[in-house]
């Protein structure tokens, strides 16, 4: 009843949720590894990923998801970081762009670099006061945190880094 149809995507069945989840994982892997890892997995691995999530069995889930979080030793990170930035203040659903974890000079990009590039409005100006909070999993990581690390450790089960920009509470 009274499902918020206009705010949330209504999945008609469990299968639809699963399909949606898998498509997110695949999209993330397309960004990270040109889909190489996910395509090498078997159907049962995909199934295990979903079953692990559904039954709240972390070890089951992570046994497979671990492979998605690996990257070749000769590179310093993923190809692109799968992320989505949500802002409460705009009408846009979210921001998603191609962003590499390592800069051309070999420096690791940080969360701050990402925001500067993709969503500069979220950052406080040099001198001004902080107006927004950058939240992932309900916490505020420091802007110096390397993005690659965040992607490996703070991604959601769909392998995306969901970053929320919310106004600084004023209390």
């Amino acid at each position: 009843k009274s499902f918020p149809e206009k705010d949330l995507l209504h999945c008609p069945s469990k299968d639809a949720v699963e399909a949606h989840f898998m498509s997110c994982v695949k999209e993330a892997d397309a960004l990270k590894h040109k889909s190489q890892v996910i395509n090498e997995m078997q159907k049962k691995d995909h199934k295990q990923l979903w079953m692990g999530l559904q039954n709240d069995r972390f070890d089951q889930f992570w046994a497979i998801n671990r492979k998605l979080m690996e990257y070749p030793a000769e590179e310093n990170g993923f190809r692109y970081i799968p992320f989505r930035i949500y802002q409460t203040t705009t009408e846009r659903p979210f921001i998603q762009k191609l962003f590499r974890p390592v800069a051309a000079d070999g420096q690791l990009h940080t969360l701050g670099d990402l925001l500067k590039e993709v969503c500069p409005s979220a950052l406080a100006p040099e001198d001004g006061e902080k107006k927004n909070q950058v939240m992932i999993h309900g916490i505020e990581p420091m802007l110096e945190t390397p993005l690659q690390w965040l992607s490996e450790h703070l991604s959601y089960p769909d392998n995306f880094l969901h970053i929320s920009i919310i106004p600084q509470p004023t209390d």
């Binding site: 070890d59 089951q60 030793a73 310093n76 690791l108 309900g138 916490i139 420091m142 390397p146 690390w149």
Partner: protein, 1190 residues
């Protein structure tokens, strides 16, 4: 997997090695010589140097290469002088070989080359077939060619005794010139190419190598008698060829290809165990007639070739049966040469850039691989450009390395006195790696940290070889430079690393040239750059001339670090390593953890006051399995199973397993309380994934509940869940305690049990069928432990493993497994089948048997048919890794084709044919491999047969190193140094010399070391103590009459031994003053393994243990009634059984509360006396301390 190395020669003739675990080419430790060709195996490398001489480089190992020389002293009795040297004219020499035909005076036995040295002087062997002889080792006979006995009889007219002396190969980690003086038809003209292979034709201990060479005139030569114990071989013999050869390649097995001047290839046929030289040649035409073959390289079942236009070719269809293959396939790439290494992996040298390429993607199913990938690892010497941080890192990885005591490494010697004199004053008191660190671009050329490393090693054992390897005609090195050590002399101020904590920082001032190999090492380093005129610039990559992968084992899916530049030059790499590595402490990381913790707290806090929605949770898992039914006829029946878990209010969990079955259309069920389950054993075979579940009741009945799942995954899920439930209900979790009892089943599964204090109580003892066993991941054949938490294991392939402190692994994941300390473990074992034949008058032996005969292809018993094609690996966990081959090492011996003969089938077999033999059989073996995971790390590189760790009594001093002894798979006795709680793997092996190969070893309380030799007799090692960890000499202890011992176990004081017929013996009369004891006393039969612990408790694995439902083989039994006054005990208490192979209770020193420690130790004080009957007199007066008392 232990690391192995790739060998390569650069354009300047310098030899480098690249470790599979490393990232840098390291200069060969003996770097004086320049080479044209090298051909490597795992233990040695052969090469042709620029002086056209052949050299062999034997890698150092903790176990020396030693060979026995023997000579017989013969005497004849005469009425006047008794036994004396007066012989009849027809008699043999007074000193002879074993046959008596060869004159062999002791001083006439010379070392074969100057790469050998004597280990000791000649001494008389007093051991005669496992029995000690009296009176100076004499054995008696009626006349000379006769049987000798150890007893002198009235008709004994002659006697003889054996003198033995050991020689030891000393030129290890150094290039040893192959002597060429004694060659038959004059030394062949200079060699052009050389190839080593053939190590898979014969197994150890023979370990034969095939060394083939091609001379400049195009002749092919074979080096006779090259084997592990004889690394130099004996002589070159010519092998006729139909054309002039230019190049040769010999594979690990029976492939041998030669290229001819005309561009064809010659293929040797008929190479086998009995004829390693092969019998005939056949010719293979090149892929295109205008471009002949210029280079070939062969592996086990691959051939790669290069034609004149530098194209690379792969030969299709090559195997043992068809060494010529079928056709050529062109591959991409232009190469100078290619080389096939272990596992048929391929390396090549590019035509254009002279870089070493590795063929990626070579697997057993795809031998031609996928792509060439350039190895961009830089040389260590290049690294010195990059300045401080990288050399600091490199220093770290050098010295973290195990220091193998290899004084006889290379230190280039020829230390002219003048040179030494020229060196600046009192030698620079520089720690070794300063040699490495500050070397700037000026002198970074050829010698590099490679030499630095040598010097570091040389510090430990100043070896004698330093002086001798000098006179070698190394043409380039002796560039007698009056200039003293430029690198060091010029820049002593830039030594930033002097404060690094070195393992062996001692560095004596080197006034004398002789005594300090390290200083000579230094001086040579200063010299080398002078001779070579700065061959490469600062940034170019090395140019290679030759590569050999014969010693380099790359697993198909291993990750190598060869393909990335680790120069430390690129800023990106630096920043990366700096920002990621100390990430553990980075502020952002700390903050994330802190925030997460706070968030969790915040989110839970608000809901704390809500009641738990479900008070008592019942959690059920159901499924369908098969059950081995309890009634006759026994068969698998389909059942439904349900596991119900209750969590009580106190958080305690209990579970019941229900098995619902239908019998006579009546529904019934069986239930098992999981807190009563004592063990869950996986029983995997070719067809079923099943497991057995024991309770104390079921253990007594010898009748477990057996359940089978349809898939392996399903079984593992059930097994993991049931195990977790059992452990939860017994509140057992985490790693096993140091006192834990370890055991192994015949499937190699490892189980561990926590001993209760009542286990060894004299009253109200805990019956051992109530012990709870849980599985630990991994696959082992032997496990040994002691109460300080040191646990070692040995796999079926004799690999040594050390316990890491983890738990879980294998099929246990998640909560049942520790997150760290779990590593991949692999094991290899052989599956054996028998080919049986019967003789008939028409065709001789044929595979047509009598109708009553066994299958012509069968298992050992002959009852089951086992064909080559139909035999599967033991379970689905195992996969084949080799093809079927004849096994020659079966007991009883075989003929040249591996046949054993007998008069009829179920009979005893012998290795030669007689008139009465109508049947014969031979054994075929095929290797299979299992990969699993568990808390075990490999202790490379020496393979072991047995291991023993000193048991420690509860009150003992817990400091100091832990004594650990082992027997290698070749029978060498080894003593591990540096074993402690913190470093359970220890540091290095100390070799303990023996006169024959050993099979079993045990070290008991007070450092009593007992061992069993391959001839079935026992030995006691004298004077072993913490300060003298290897003891001084062996005392021979005869075995029980007519029995050959196979295992010994020593507790605090008690000594038990086991013979080959399953009898258990107790050593009577062992006292501190006479630790060898007096006689063997029979205790029990049907025993297959014994373990005696620190409380002198005795546990065995026994066969034929009765139960109410069936007999059981491989049952754990505990000796009851063992008292200080009654050390042999009274009876047996039967525990878990049905396929157990091994147990160790040597870690369990937990006594029952009532202490009886006083009683046990009182007998053990007293002055140690002089042990009698030493097995050798060479040691003259023996020092008079027996085992040290505790």
């Amino acid at each position: 997997m232990p690391s192995s190395v790739l060998w390569a020669v650069d354009l300047f003739g310098k030899v480098y090695t690249l470790s599979t675990a490393g990232q840098y080419w390291e200069l060969c430790k003996d770097s004086q010589l320049e080479f044209k060709r090298v051909s490597a195996t795992t233990q040695c490398c052969w090469g042709i140097a620029c002086d056209n001489q052949v050299y062999v480089y034997v890698c150092a190992s903790d176990v020396p290469i030693r060979r026995r020389e023997e000579a017989y002293e013969n005497q004849r009795w005469n009425p006047v002088g008794g036994f004396c040297e007066k012989f009849l004219p027809s008699d043999r020499w007074q000193w002879s070989d074993v046959s008596g035909l060869q004159h062999r005076p002791l001083d006439g036995v010379a070392l074969p080359s100057r790469h050998w040295e004597w280990e000791s002087d000649w001494y008389v062997d007093e051991n005669f077939g496992g029995e000690p002889t009296e009176k100076g080792g004499w054995t008696y006979a009626i006349d000379f060619p006769a049987t000798y006995t150890r007893d002198k009889k009235w008709n004994s007219c002659v006697r003889r005794r054996r003198w033995i002396r050991y020689r030891r190969y000393r030129s290890r980690d150094a290039w040893a010139k192959i002597p060429s003086k004694d060659d038959p038809e004059q030394l062949p003209d200079p060699f052009n190419d050389l190839s080593v292979g053939g190590w898979e034709i014969t197994d150890e201990p023979v370990g034969r190598l095939s060394v083939w060479a091609v001379s400049l005139q195009g002749k092919v030569w074979y080096r006779e008698d090259v084997s592990h114990p004889n690394p130099e071989g004996s002589s070159w013999s010519l092998v006729d060829t139909p054309g002039e050869a230019v190049q040769i390649s010999c594979g690990p097995h029976d492939l041998l290809w030669v290229t001819l001047w005309e561009g064809q290839a010659l293929v040797r046929e008929g190479i086998n165990r009995n004829n390693p030289k092969g019998s005939s040649w056949s010719i293979v035409e090149p892929p295109a007639s205008e471009n002949g073959i210029v280079h070939v390289s062969v592996g086990v079942s691959v051939v790669w070739a290069i034609t004149k236009d530098r194209k690379v070719w792969f030969r299709r269809g090559v195997n043992s049966h068809n060494p010529c293959g079928t056709s050529w396939i062109e591959m991409v790439g232009d190469m100078m040469m290619v080389n096939v290494g272990l596992n048929d992996q391929v390396w090549g040298i590019g035509c254009e850039d002279r870089a070493v390429y590795f063929r990626q993607g070579v697997t057993q199913s795809e031998l031609s691989g996928k792509t060439w990938k350039a190895i961009v690892a830089s040389r260590e010497s290049d690294r010195s450009h990059s300045g401080s941080s990288s050399s600091l890192l490199s220093a770290g990885c050098f010295f973290g390395d195990e220091v193998r005591g290899s004084g006889e490494s290379c230190a280039p010697s020829d230390t002219d006195a003048s040179l030494e004199a020229d060196r600046p004053g009192p030698d620079q008191p520089v720690p070794a790696e300063s040699v490495d660190g500050p070397r700037n671009s000026r002198d970074s050329s050829a010698s590099g940290p490679g030499t630095g490393r040598t010097t570091e090693r040389a510090v430990e054992v100043p070896g004698p070889a330093t002086q001798t390897s000098g006179p070698e005609p190394g043409p380039t090195t002796q560039t007698s430079g009056p200039e003293p050590c430029p690198g060091l002399a010029s820049s002593p101020a830039e030594l930033p690393w002097t404060n690094i904590d070195l393992k062996e920082p001692k560095r004596a001032p080197g006034h004398s040239a002789a005594g300090f190999p390290e200083t000579t090492g230094l001086s040579s380093m200063g010299l080398l750059p002078l001779g070579l005129e700065e061959p490469y610039g600062a940034d170019d990559h090395p140019l290679w001339a030759w590569v050999s992968g014969g010693g380099c084992a790359v697993e198909a899916h291993a990750v190598l670090k060869w393909f990335t530049v680790q120069s430390g030059l690129s800023p990106s790499v630096q920043t990366l390593s700096l920002s990621i590595m100390p990430a553990q402490t980075a502020a952002w990381r700390k903050q994330i953890f802190q925030q997460l913790t706070e968030r969790t707290k915040r989110e839970l806090e608000h809901f704390r006051h809500y009641e738990q929605a479900v008070e008592q949770s019942v959690w059920v898992k159901t499924g369908s399995l098969q059950w081995w039914c309890d009634w006759k006829p026994h068969k698998w029946v389909d059942v439904r199973v349900a596991l119900e878990q209750f969590t009580g209010l106190d958080g305690a969990r209990d579970s019941i397993l229900f098995i619902y079955y239908v019998v006579h259309e009546e529904k019934k069920y069986l239930h098992v309380f999981l807190n009563e389950v004592t063990v869950l054993v996986p029983v995997l075979n070719e067809t079923k994934h099943s497991f057995a579940l024991y309770t104390p009741e079921r253990t007594r009945q010898r009748w477990p509940v057996r359940l089978a799942a349809t898939t392996e995954q399903d079984m593992n899920d059930w097994l993991a869940l049931l195990n977790l439930s059992c452990c939860e209900s017994r509140r057992v979790h985490g790693r096993p305690s140091p006192q834990a009892i370890w055991s192994i089943t015949c499937k190699g599964d490892i189980f561990v049990s926590e001993p209760s204090p009542d286990l060894e109580a004299s009253e109200h003892r805990l019956p051992c069928d109530q012990m709870f066993w849980r599985q630990v991941g991994g696959h082992l054949r032997v496990v040994e432990a002691n109460s300080r938490g040191v646990v070692w294991g040995i796999g079926y392939d004799h690999t040594a493993w050390v316990y890491t402190g983890g738990y879980g692994g294998g099929c246990f994941q998640g909560l049942a497994s520790s997150t760290s300390n779990i590593y991949t473990q692999s094991d290899v074992k052989c599956v054996y089948i028998y080919e049986n034949q019967r003789w008939n008058p028409v065709t001789g032996y044929s595979s047509r048997g009598l109708p009553t005969d066994r299958y012509m292809w069968s298992d050992a018993s002959g009852l089951h048919e086992c064909t080559k094609a139909g035999t599967k690996p033991p379970s689905l966990q195992w996969t084949w890794v080799s093809d079927w081959s004849v096994d020659f090492s079966v007991p009883g011996g075989t003929d040249q084709e591996g046949w054993q003969y007998a008069s009829d089938f179920p009979a005893s077999y012998h290795g030669y044919k007689t008139m009465k033999d109508f049947v014969r059989r031979r054994c075929w073996a095929r290797k299979c491999k299992l990969v699993t995971s568990g808390p075990w790390l490999e202790v490379a590189p020496i393979a072991l047969g047995d291991v023993s760790i000193i048991p420690e009594s509860p009150g003992a001093d817990r400091s100091g190193h832990i004594a650990l002894w082992a027997v290698s798979d070749k029978g060498d006795v080894l003593c591990r140094l540096g074993v402690s709680e913190l470093n359970p793997a220890g540091s290095s092996w100390l070799h303990v010399g023996t006169d024959q190969p050993f099979t079993s070893i045990s070290i008991g309380g007070c450092h009593q070391v007992w061992a069993v030799a391959r001839d079935g007799s026992a030995f006691y090692r004298g004077s072993v103590s913490p300060t003298q960890p290897a003891g001084d000499c062996w005392y021979h202890i005869p075995s029980p009459p007519k029995q050959r011992l196979k295992q010994v176990s020593v507790g605090q004081t008690a000594v038990y031994a086991l013979d080959e017929n399953g009898n258990l013996w107790y050593r009577q009369g062992v006292t501190p003053s006479y630790p060898q004891g007096s006689s063997w006393e029979h205790v029990s039969n049907n025993v297959c393994r014994v373990s005696v612990g620190p409380l002198d408790q005795v546990w065995i694995i026994a066969n034929k243990v009765p139960g109410s439902r069936s007999m059981s083989r491989g049952t754990v039994c505990h000796r009851t009634g063992v008292q200080p006054r009654e050390p042999m005990g009274q009876g047996w208490d039967y525990g878990i059984g049905g396929g157990w192979d091994h147990i160790t209770i040597r870690a369990n020193a937990t006594r029952a509360l009532r202490s009886r420690s006083q009683e046990t130790t009182t007998d053990w004080s007293g002055e140690p006396g002089l042990p009698s009957t030493p097995s050798r007199v060479a040691g003259a007066l023996l020092e008079a301390h027996g085992p040290v008392c505790c």
